[in-house]
Each structure stands twice: as structure tokens, then as C-alpha cells.
């Protein structure tokens, strides 16, 4: 069975639940969500109004779940959703939505629009209307273990490198460890300093941890393309590894959608609660800080700002934690406008970064971030999401901006106090 319109519509019908029915019932077409979407604000094109991106799903709701809609459908008076229509909507659902959820906070009637886009993507992918780039990434994730094609050998090489640099052992497949660290593809491939950073931090804090050779990849393209089946497969690998190693906690990496996939969607994807807890690396670091187990002994005088990753902050609720950590090491920390819950997305979340077709639009959308950065005179942008970092670097380069981009965990590790037997950097 391959993808088809019929399969897509059936998926729409199955995905529509109480919240979605309620959201469509409540929408009064006020257009306020437009202002909250960076694809609209940066293009002023009305088709990027968030609620408009859901039009096919809305029609299915109307025809399947409302009194008049059913009546009209029976009478043959309603316009069925067509394949052409879904094809037309594909760029709206995938290219111009990063699932950042800013619209969900702006809607006066309380519609969780991003909740709907996520569900709509289930039907889009089932009907065959998912972007090629995202399909490829998902395929690689399933078949090769990572959307970027990194594998256990890549990881072993990076670990070796980190061990050499830190003089510490990176625990692999340690059964009975308290924490199991999960990484994102980008961290393994590009931002590999993270491995050394967490090794040193955990060493200092005395955290019992491990990395699983069969469950180290946290990136979840299944969530982004909108397939629960594929997302479940990817999450399942981590769950199996964690269960094999009998860990108490799984640490989500600095990767927004990995966090969402692992922390909030995972148990629902596999259909049962986890026997372990999921904690975000930043959440854990802040916890260690408050327990006095995380100590720094130097600061960075450069003017730093923090880019809030949507999935971690707005959709994940960690507003204070990264700031608590930043205040330890960045005395010249400065906030961008709209910090915290109202942050603006980097423009590449929700699978947009894996979708080459969306590149020109994404570049335009970055103007929002550029404007935010232009308002303040920070020289370094700290973030806690490897995808955000890539998108920021991309945008900065395109706009010839001089800012540096660093990951929060690495930044903390750099200023780690040398009060234990751990080696100074």
C-alpha cells in the first residue's frame, strides 16, 4: 500500500479530535495569528496566515464532524478535498511552518494552531504530499540511523577525540547508569565539542551516566514529517536502549524536536509510559546548579544574548533554566526583544531545515531574527538547540553578520570550576 489521497483523508478523519474540532469551531477568522508567524511578518503574504495553512483539514472536519457539514456532504453539496489541493497546500504546511507554536499563544480564542499543523502533517504524508528533502531525511533516519547519515562509527571517533581532549572516559553502554545521554545528529557530526563538555560537567557533578551504542540519536524526522509510525520507530530505538541499560533517566540533547519527540510524544508514539524519566540537558544542568553540583570559576565578558529554541522554551516550558545558567558565566548577558515564550523561531525548525525547497523562504524569514539582533549589540548568540545553531550560522553568513554562535552546554563547560580532580581545559 502506498500513499494516496484516500489514505490521507482517512488520516485526517482519524487525527481530528476534541481539541481540533473545538479549534475549528472557535476560529472567527480574525487574522491575528498572521502577526505571530514570521513567515507572514517577513513576506506580508496572506497565504502564510497560520490558520489558512489548515484549510483542507478544516474542510474534512466540517464534512465529517459537523451537523450541517455531514448533511451537505450527504446532499453532495460540499467540496471534497482533492489531491491537487493537498499538493497546493504542501508548501504551506511544511515550508512555511516550523511548528514554533507562536500562533498558539496569540490566538484570542485559544486555538492551538501548531497542534493542528502537526496532526495535519500526518494526513499530508499519508497522502504522499511531503517535501522530498524531508522524505529523504526521514528515510535516512530509518535506514541509516540518522538523517545526516552519521552512524556509530562516527560517534566512536568523536568519543575517542573527546576522551583524548578531556582525559576522561566517556561511558558507553554502561548498564545501571543513572542517566543515558542522547545526542542529535548535528552534535555528532558538527558540534561534537558537546561530548567533551558533558563528560567534564558530569564528571565534576558526579553524575552516573552513559551513552548507548544502539540509541544515541535523538533527532526525530518522523515527528517533523508528521508520521507517528515512523516517529515511533525512531523513538523506539532510544526506549529499547534505555530499557536494556536500565537507566533511570534519558537526557534529551540540545535539539528542540528531539526533546518534543522524546519527552512529550514518545510514550504516546510507542503506546505506553516509559519506565524512565526524560530530562533535557539544560534542565539537568540547571538542576545540578541549584544543587550546588555545577560550579563555574570564570566568566565571559563578551556581550551575549540567548536565542530561545521554540521546542525547548515555548513548547517545552524551560524559560528560566537557560537564563539561570547563562547568568553564571555571562555578566554582559542581554535579552533580545520578545524573549522567552514570545521568541521568534530561527526559521528552520519543524523540518524546514531539511527541506531544500524552503531555503529561499527560510532566508527571508531569518530577517526577523536579524532585526532582533540588530536592536542589540550582542556579539555572541547562545542557544541550546543544534538545529537553531545551524540555522543561525546560515542566516548570519547570508547576511554577513559577525556574530558568534555557541551552545549553552559548551559555554558552561568552558567555565567549569576545577574544584575536583577533573583536568582544567
Amino acid at each position: 500500500m502506498s500513499t494516496s489521497l484516500q489514505r490521507g483523508i482517512a488520516s485526517f478523519v482519524g487525527q481530528i479530535d476534541g481539541p481540533i474540532a473545538s479549534f475549528f469551531t472557535s476560529c472567527v477568522h480574525c487574522g491575528l495569528c498572521a502577526d505571530s508567524c514570521l513567515f507572514y511578518t517577513e513576506t506580508q503574504d496572506p497565504k502564510y496566515t497560520p490558520i489558512h495553512k489548515l484549510e483542507p483539514l478544516r474542510r474534512v472536519w466540517q464534512q465529517e464532524y459537523t451537523f450541517w457539514g455531514k448533511l451537505m456532504k450527504k446532499a453532495g453539496l460540499s467540496k471534497p478535498v482533492t489531491d491537487e489541493e493537498l499538493a497546493e497546500w504542501e508548501p504551506l504546511v511544511y515550508d512555511s511552518c516550523t511548528l514554533c507554536g507562536r500562533c498558539s499563544l496569540a490566538c484570542p480564542v485559544g486555538n492551538d494552531i501548531v497542534y493542528m499543523v502537526r496532526k495535519m502533517r500526518e494526513g499530508m504524508v499519508a497522502s504522499g504530499h511531503a517535501p522530498e528533502g524531508l522524505k529523504g531525511a526521514t528515510q535516512r533516519a530509518i535506514e541509516l540511523g540518522s538523517p545526516m547519515g552519521v552512524n556509530i562509527n562516527t560517534l566512536r571517533a568523536q568519543i575517542k577525540h573527546a576522551e583524548k581532549e578531556t582525559g576522561l572516559t566517556v561511558p558507553m553502554d554502561v548498564e545501571g547508569a543513572d542517566y543515558m545521554m542522547v545526542l542529535s545528529s548535528a552534535e555528532v557530526a558538527e558540534y561534537n565539542d558537546i561530548i567533551g563538555a558533558v563528560t567534564r560537567i558530569f564528571h565534576q557533578a558526579g553524575v552516573s551516566w552513559t551513552i548507548a551504542s544502539d540509541g544515541f540519536e535523538g533527532t526525530n524526522s518522523g515527528i517533523q514529517i508528521g508520521s507517528s509510525d515512523l516517529a515511533a520507530e525512531l523513538v523506539g530505538r532510544i526506549v529499547r536502549a534505555a530499557e536494556r541499560l536500565k537507566v533511570k533517566y534519558v537526557i534529551s540533547p540540545e535539539c528542540g524536536h528531539a526533546y518534543t519527540a522524546l519527552r512529550w510524544e514518545g510514550p504516546n508514539l510507542i503506546g505506553r509510559p516509559y519506565p524512565f524519566k526524560v530530562i533535557h540537558i539544560i534542565e539537568l544542568l540547571d538542576q545540578l546548579r541549584s544543587e550546588g553540583r555545577l560550579k563555574t570559576d570564570s566568566v565571559d565578558e563578551t556581550r551575549m544574548t540567548f536565542h530561545d529554541p521554540c521546542q525547548m522554551v515555548r513548547r517545552g516550558g524551560m524559560v528560566e533554566q537557560p537564563r539561570n545558567l547563562l547568568h553564571m558565566v555571562a555578566p554582559n548577558f542581554v535579552e533580545m526583544s520578545d524573549p522567552g515564550l514570545q521568541n521568534w523561531c530561527c526559521g528552520g525548525g519543524g523540518g524546514v531545515s531539511a527541506n531544500e525547497r524552503a531555503n529561499p523562504l527560510r532566508t527571508r524569514a531569518f530577517n526577523r531574527k536579524k532585526a532582533q539582533l540588530d536592536e542589540i549589540d550582542a556579539t555572541t548568540i547562545v542557544s541550546a538547540c543544534s538545529n537553531c545553531r545551524t540555522m543561525l550560522l546560515d542566516g548570519l553568513e547570508h547576511n554577513h553578520m559577525p556574530h558568534e554562535v555557541v551552545g549553552l552546554t559548551e559555554l558552561i563547560a568552558e567555565h567549569l570550576a576545577d574544584d575536583k580532580e577533573g583536568k582544567a581545559p
Partner: protein
């Protein structure tokens, strides 16, 4: 049927029909929204769904995100319209007499001057919102026939009510009949159109807030 009989009809049988359709339709629709249900999340909660849901139900009425001029216009005019509508609906002495007759209890009315101002502001805001809907690219794209229909259905009771208090253009009997009839149209249409947002908004906000609350996000 003369004017008096028509008035008796709209005050009697007409109102019964409208009330029946409204209550039946609304209770059906709202309960249905809750009964379609959603899957209980198997993830470990970081906060309370109920706290988040209830907070958002209330708080979303007051949280104003940063807005563009067009967004600001929508918000200001939207608030004026809704506020004016509620003030006239719930605080005009004649309406309170109606609620007292139906529910058995009432509350103090606001002075007529306040009601008048509220009604005028509400009417003005509605006209402005309609004009904006016609010229703003976003709203024009989103709008379908229902947006204009529900606008008219909401505008007419306000307009006829305002005219009634001053006996503008028609006789009292005619205006009262028109006013009540326009309200009945509104009541009958409400469960089947986006006017249902008068209740579903709170369900939507609850669902939205519940998701946030579950994750421990303090909005």
C-alpha cells in the same frame, strides 16, 4: 397577522423555538466537542492540565501579544465590539428584566448613559471591523460567507436595540418585534455557525492551556 400578533409570536412561540434550537444545538455541539475526546497523554506530566486549562480560559482574554498596527486594530475594535455587546446585553435594565423572568434572578443595571456609549462604540467597532475585513488581505483571504453572515446576525440586534431605545425610524411595536426577531435569528444560527465560538472559545482555551499546563509551561 397584525403587528401585535407578530410581537406576541416573537415574544412567545418564536422565542421558544429560538431558545430550543439554541440550547439544543449548543449543548449538543459543546458536549460533542468534549466527547470526540482526545487521547490521554502517556508522557509524564510536569504540571497540571487543569491549572493550565483554567488559567488560559481566563487569561487569554487579557493577554495581548505584541502586534502590528493591523493586529492592534483588530484587537481594539474586537474588544470594543465584544465589550459593548456584553455591556448592553447584560447590563441594560430591560435585559436584566428578561433574565430575571427566565432564570429567576437578576442583578443591578448600569445607567442608560453607559449603555448608550457601549452600544455606540460596539456598533462603530463592528462597522470598522467589517470594513477592515473587506480591505485587509489576510482577513479577506480567510473570510467566507459565514463571516459576513455572522457579522450581520450580530450587528442587527445591536442596531435594532439601539433604534428601539430611541424609537428611530419605526414604531416601538415594530422595532421591538424586529429586535427580538433579530436576536432569535442570532440564537438559531449560533449553534451552526462560528457564532458557536461564544462557548467553544472556552473549550479551545482549555485544551490549549491544558497542553501547556501539562508541560508545565507558565504562559
Amino acid at each position: 397577522m397584525d403587528a401585535q400578533e407578530l410581537l406576541i409570536w416573537v415574544r412567545g412561540a418564536g422565542l421558544q423555538i429560538a431558545a430550543a434550537v439554541f440550547v439544543l444545538g449548543m449543548s449538543y455541539r459543546m458536549l460533542h466537542l468534549l466527547l470526540i475526546g482526545r487521547k490521554k497523554s502517556l508522557a509524564e506530566a510536569r504540571g497540571s492540565e487543569w491549572a493550565g486549562g483554567l488559567r488560559t480560559m481566563w487569561q487569554r482574554s487579557f493577554v495581548l501579544p505584541k502586534l502590528s498596527p493591523r493586529g492592534r486594530f483588530t484587537v481594539v475594535a474586537g474588544y470594543l465590539f465584544h465589550l459593548g455587546f456584553f455591556v448592553t446585553l447584560f447590563f441594560l435594565s430591560q435585559h436584566i428584566a428578561l433574565f430575571r423572568a427566565v432564570f429567576g434572578f437578576g442583578w443591578p443595571a448600569l445607567p442608560r448613559g453607559v449603555i448608550d456609549i457601549a452600544a455606540v462604540l460596539s456598533l462603530g467597532a463592528m462597522v470598522a471591523l467589517l470594513a477592515h475585513r473587506l480591505v485587509d488581505p489576510v482577513k479577506r483571504l480567510l473570510s467566507d460567507y459565514q463571516d459576513y453572515l455572522t457579522w450581520a446576525l450580530s450587528f442587527l440586534p445591536l442596531l435594532t436595540g439601539f433604534m428601539l431605545l430611541r424609537e428611530i425610524a419605526f414604531e416601538y411595536v415594530t422595532l421591538l418585534t424586529l429586535h427580538i426577531a433579530s436576536v432569535e435569528l442570532l440564537l438559531i444560527a449560533a449553534p451552526f455557525t462560528k457564532l458557536a465560538h461564544m462557548f467553544s472559545t472556552f473549550i479551545s482555551r482549555w485544551y490549549n492551556g491544558a497542553v501547556m499546563g501539562f508541560k508545565g509551561i507558565r504562559t
